[in-house]
Every structure is written in C-alpha cells, then in structure tokens.
Symmetry: C2
Subunit: 248 residues, 2 copies
C-alpha cells in the first residue's frame, strides 16, 4: 500500500466534480455555504475500512472520488456485498448513528463528510437536501431490487455478464450514449470481491470469465483489464431483455 496521500480534495464546492449529482445537487449558494461549514474531507487508501458494521458513525457524506463497497458478513464468514459506491454516492443515514454494514475503500478514495448533528438539523429545515436524498435513495432501492433478481434467479454466467455490462455501460456512458463497438476498461474489483458481489465463489467467477473469453464475448490481456468487442453480444448474455432491463 502506498504511503502518499490519495487525490486532493476540491478547493470548494464550486470546483467539486460531484457538485451536480451528490446530495448537494439541488442546493442554492446559501445552502451550500451552510454545508461548507459542516464539511471536511477524508482520504482513504485502497483496502482501508471507512466504517465498521455496528460501530458508531459521527458523520454522513459523499464519495468524491474512488470506489467503496458495502458488505454484510455472517457469523461463519459468508459475505455478501450489498452496494457498490461510486463518486457522488451517499454514505450513512440521517437519524441513525450505528452503521449496519462495513464500508470499505477498494481504491484510493476521498470522502466529503458532514458532521452528523448539523446535517440532520439541515435536513429538517431546508428541503433541497432531503429532496435530493430521497431521489438518490429511491434510485438505490431500484438498484438493490435489480440485484435481488440477479442474486435469486440468474446463472453464474449471467451474473458475470450483468456485472460487466454495468461497468461497460458506465465506461462508455461517460463518453457517449448507446455503447457501440469496442469498449475497454479496468475491473475495480478482485475476483473475490466480484464473487461477494454476485453471490458466487471466486473460483466460479474465474471459470465463467474464462468461459466468456473462450466464447469471444470478452478479451483479457491483463487479469484486470477487459475489452468487450461487442457490447450487444455481452448484453445478450445477461438474460435481460434487449434494452438491458434498465428502467425507462
């Protein structure tokens, strides 16, 4: 693990790359000023835990850069990832100080944290934060339910394909709508983390990745770097209908 600090935080909210997607998206300049007073940045290195399940959390906040995971663990060690947090995603719940899940940085990561108390007060007095948080929570609920279908009903191959489709869509979505042609991206997760996300074992993940490679659905030069020759071909493997089963 490197010792140098992860990417620097933005100078102020105006410069922030998640300004228009995070909980603060709807805030006017007055509200932003209030948030600035209660906010502070924290950096985490890849592999570090941000929050431990059952521990007290004195803050809530947004992922500014990097990727984090939400995981639940059973007594005997079985693990299930229940969320993948990308930049602008929210961590914590107003009104609850005890964390229900482990939150872990899988890459170097920067969080924009708000002290719990003043944030909760603001939730009660100005509507824009609460409105945006509701919207984001509803989106997360949709994503969780999509994942329930995957976990309960999809085959290992379909699970892998679905996961890769999300990554591929996100990768190409940053550039242009409707992914066409060849897409290349890095896997943010290890095989084991993928397994925890998909409700599989790491061996099964590895085997299905090899199978998809063998069948020409994807190419693997380095272990963590993936090329998808045809997005549509990959999407066919997910078991979803043509539009990818996404919400309209």
């Amino acid at each position: 693990m490197s010792l140098h600090a992860p990417k620097l935080a933005p100078r102020d909210c105006g410069d922030c790359q998640i300004r228009h997607r995070a909980v603060c998206a709807r805030c006017d300049s007055d509200e932003l000023a209030r948030l600035e007073e209660m906010k502070y940045y924290r950096s985490f290195q890849a592999g570090q835990n941000i929050v431990w399940s059952a521990d007290r959390m004195d803050f809530v906040g947004s992922v500014v850069s990097g990727i984090a995971t939400l995981t639940q663990t059973m007594e005997d060690g079985r693990r299930q990832m229940v969320g993948l947090l990308l930049p602008s995603d929210f961590v914590g719940r107003p009104g609850r100080a005890i964390a229900p899940y482990d939150v872990t940085a899988v890459t170097d990561l920067v969080m924009c944290c708000f002290r719990r108390k003043p944030f909760e007060e603001m939730m009660g007095t100005t509507p824009h934060v609460a409105q945006r948080l509701l919207e984001m929570t509803l989106d997360e609920l949709d994503a969780a339910r999509e994942w329930m279908l995957l976990l309960g009903r999809k085959t290992a191959r379909e699970k892998i394909a679905s996961f890769l489709t999300i990554l591929a869509r996100r990768e190409s979505g940053l550039k242009a709508r409707a992914p066409k042609g060849q897409i290349t991206f890095d896997l943010p997760l290890t095989r084991e983390e993928m397994a925890d996300y998909l409700g599989l074992t790491l061996e099964t993940v590895s085997r299905q990745m090899s199978a998809l490679k063998r069948d020409g659905v994807l190419e693997l030069e380095e272990k963590r770097r993936i090329t998808v020759p045809s997005f549509d071909r990959l999407a066919e493997e997910t078991g979803d209908d043509a539009d990818g089963g996404m919400l309209a």
Copy 2:
C-alpha cells in the same frame, strides 16, 4: 374468487389504522386535509394485479389492509419477488409514471391512492410527506439489502427459516416484544410465491418445510397454518446471529 367487495375503507384519515405509520404519519391536520382532497380508495381481490410492469401509473398510494407483492419477471419466465407490501407500505414513486415491477394483491386488499400530480406538488411544498417517505424508503433499502444477503448466501433451509422468522416475529410482535413460547400463524403466500420470494423452486420450498417439520422446528396441521414451538429454535436455523441479524 369471491365476488363480494373486500373490507371497507376507513371513513376518514382520523379513523385510519395506518394513520401513524404511512406516508401521512407526520402530517398535521392542514396537510391531512390537503391529502384528503386528492385521495380515493380502491379495493382489489386476492390474485388481482394492482399495477403491471411497464404500464403507466396515475397514482401513488398506501396499502391500507391486505398484502401485496412486488415482482420482476425475466423474458423466459423466471420470477423474483423484490418486495412484500404490508399495511402502511407505499406504492409508486413520485416523479416516475412508469411502473418498474408488477404489483399484485395476494390477499383481498384496500389501497389509499393519491392522484399523482397533486401529490407531487405537495411533495415539493410541504416537507412532512417527503421526510416520512425518505424514512420509509431508507427502511425499505435496508430490508432489500438484508434480502440480498439471503438470496446470495443462504442455504434453502436458512432461507425458509429466515422467512418464517419474519412472519413469526411480526405475528408475536403485534402482541408482545421478544417472542417466547409457541407461535401460530397463517402463511400469506403459496409455496410457489414463497419460492419466488426466496429464489428457490416450489419443490425445494416444500421439501425444506417438510424437513423442518421432521426436525421438530415447526408443526404443520393444515398446509398454510404453521405452529412454531420455539422461536429461538427457529431463529437458530436462519444462519443469522442470536439477535436475528436485525438492525439495532
């Protein structure tokens, strides 16, 4: 299917049995009056669809009495239930008119519906509805994530035990905290519906129910009526830790 109309709706909000748990829980009498203007009741018979996936929804609303399910279906017919709606639970999403799931009444059911447009306006102007809806959505998200662990990592026996534990807890919870001694209740779902909820086949559900009966964890006189001699014994079968893995 019986032809007589299901249970009557309450006269007004003051008499309503879900008044203090539904989206309207936090509303003062002025706000309640506004809601009364946009609300109407609808009754559904057991088995009837309330909403079809991909159809337009002109209302949102609360389940007043009865039980409904949220289900997703894949092209080839594989089905996964992604939610079980009990009295006070909310249906629909402000800001989205297209339903992402099928909503089906599994018992006779009454809904308190709000016309979409005025409800959305109210969301923007008075904070109490939005605040309560946020709280409820966060609870649903927790429940969905709990279910992700079940779907991804639990064995068939643990899945059944977990589901029955929820029902048993709810049954005894209505009377007293900390379920002790013998609990008896009716299954609201068929074996097939349980299978769709738990990510299993109906045969596996049936087999595991028989196994739990054989092992003395539960008694089955009629197919849908269950007696749990010891709640703790059942809870041991869920794979969760002692407190049932519930949130503090």
